[in-house]
């Protein structure tokens, strides 16, 4: 997965699937994610995301999806 510049990725968290283990929050290199008052993960600074894919690969509950902001045909 090629690294992308900031502000081009969309991070989606499914709160129903998140168990709040905090793995994504503590290892995120750009500090995009945070735990909210309910103890679950939410996206705090989406524009800082560098699309490294760590959270997506390491979420044990498959609760995070990182995608490109624009559809593929628009980028080209």
């Amino acid at each position: 997965m090629a690294k992308k510049k900031k502000g081009q990725s969309k991070v989606t968290v499914y709160p129903d699937w998140c168990k709040g283990c905090g793995v994504c929050v503590s290892f995120c290199p750009a500090k995009v994610l945070e735990l909210d008052e309910t103890g679950k993960c939410h996206v705090a600074r989406e524009d800082d995301c560098i699309h490294c894919g760590f959270c997506e690969l390491h979420c044990p509950d498959f609760a995070i999806v990182v995608t490109d902001k624009k559809p593929k045909d628009e980028q080209a």
Binding site: G22, L57, H58, C59, P60, D61, F62, V65, K72
Partner: protein, 284 residues
């Protein structure tokens, strides 16, 4: 191949009529192993119907419930025996056996060494979380010496099994070790373990915070992942290290790769040969 990436692939392979989120505890590495397995099967372009997941009992046994492959949830420790039967009756299937450390090394230890000796074409994933998690945190054969558990409150006196040496000694065709922190490496190893012939063994170190970490001074699941990041080193670098540098470090990577044909290949080859001989004798 489909254009979707990451977790979107995983959602295509899950059984959404099961209750989600899954039963595993927060921060359990088993979910990551399941994700890597799905991504590996997807990247190898194997149809869902050609994959059989055989799981034993324990936390790892739950993984078979959630994926939309052919799955079978078997008795404790006997997953490899069921897998052997499936592979011998239909060698076209990719049989993947998911076992925990207690399942594979203690209760099914006998089956593990004999499956390795036979070189049956099964992929054995051994999810090593150092403890019997589901039954309440008893010491397993993989609990490191000196660590505390429910049945060893003053520290484990027994030595633990080295799964890799065990597999090598028993004659497994392919032996590798990965961790859930190094996911991309784990996926590469898993792809190799699924495609190579013969008995392929992949040990995956996955943290169990609920039963093991809490009793061993890990504050949270994140600490266990940090520990994995610190202790796991590639096997090439581990071999170059001096004895005193090694300490508690755990080598990860490929340890044995023989590439011998599996038992089912040799069996059906022999069958074909004998039938040809018989036909030739009858023709005379």
């Amino acid at each position: 191949m489909n254009e979707v990436t990451g977790n979107e692939i995983i959602h295509q392979y899950l059984r959404h009529n099961k209750k989600f989120p899954h039963v595993l505890c927060a921060g359990c590495g088993h979910g990551i192993v399941l994700g890597s397995l799905i991504r590996s099967v997807h990247s190898l372009d194997i149809p869902k119907d050609d994959v059989v997941i055989v799981a034993g009992i324990g936390c790892s046994g739950r993984l078979a419930v959630y994926v939309d492959f052919n799955t079978i949830h078997t008795t404790h420790g006997r997953a490899l025996t069921f897998a052997t039967g499936i592979k011998m009756s239909n060698p076209k299937l990719k049989v993947i056996c998911i076992m925990g450390d207690g399942d594979a090394l203690s209760i099914g230890g006998n089956h593990l060494i004999h499956a390795a000796r036979r070189n049956i074409g099964v992929t054995a994933l051994i999810l090593n979380n150092n403890i019997y998690g589901m039954t309440g945190g008893q010491s397993s054969p993989a609990t490191p010496s000196g660590s505390t558990s429910m049945t060893a409150p003053f520290g484990q006196l027994e030595e633990s099994f080295d799964t890799v040496s065990l597999g090598q000694g028993a004659g497994a065709n392919y032996v590798a070790r990965g961790t859930v922190f190094h996911v991309q490496k784990l996926e590469r190893l898993m792809c190799e373990a699924i495609t190579k012939p013969g008995f392929n063994m992949l040990e995956v170190l996955t943290p169990c915070h609920t039963q093991y970490g809490r009793k061993n001074k890990f504050k949270g699941p994140v600490d266990m992942y940090k520990w994995l990041k610190k202790t796991a080193v590639p096997v090439e670098r581990y071999q170059e290290m001096k004895e005193e540098q090694r300490g508690d470090r755990i080598p990860i990577g490929v340890f044995t790769d023989k590439g011998n044909p599996g038992l089912e290949e040799r069996y059906f080859g022999l069958k074909k040969e004998l039938l040809a001989k018989q036909q030739a004798a009858e023709g005379k």
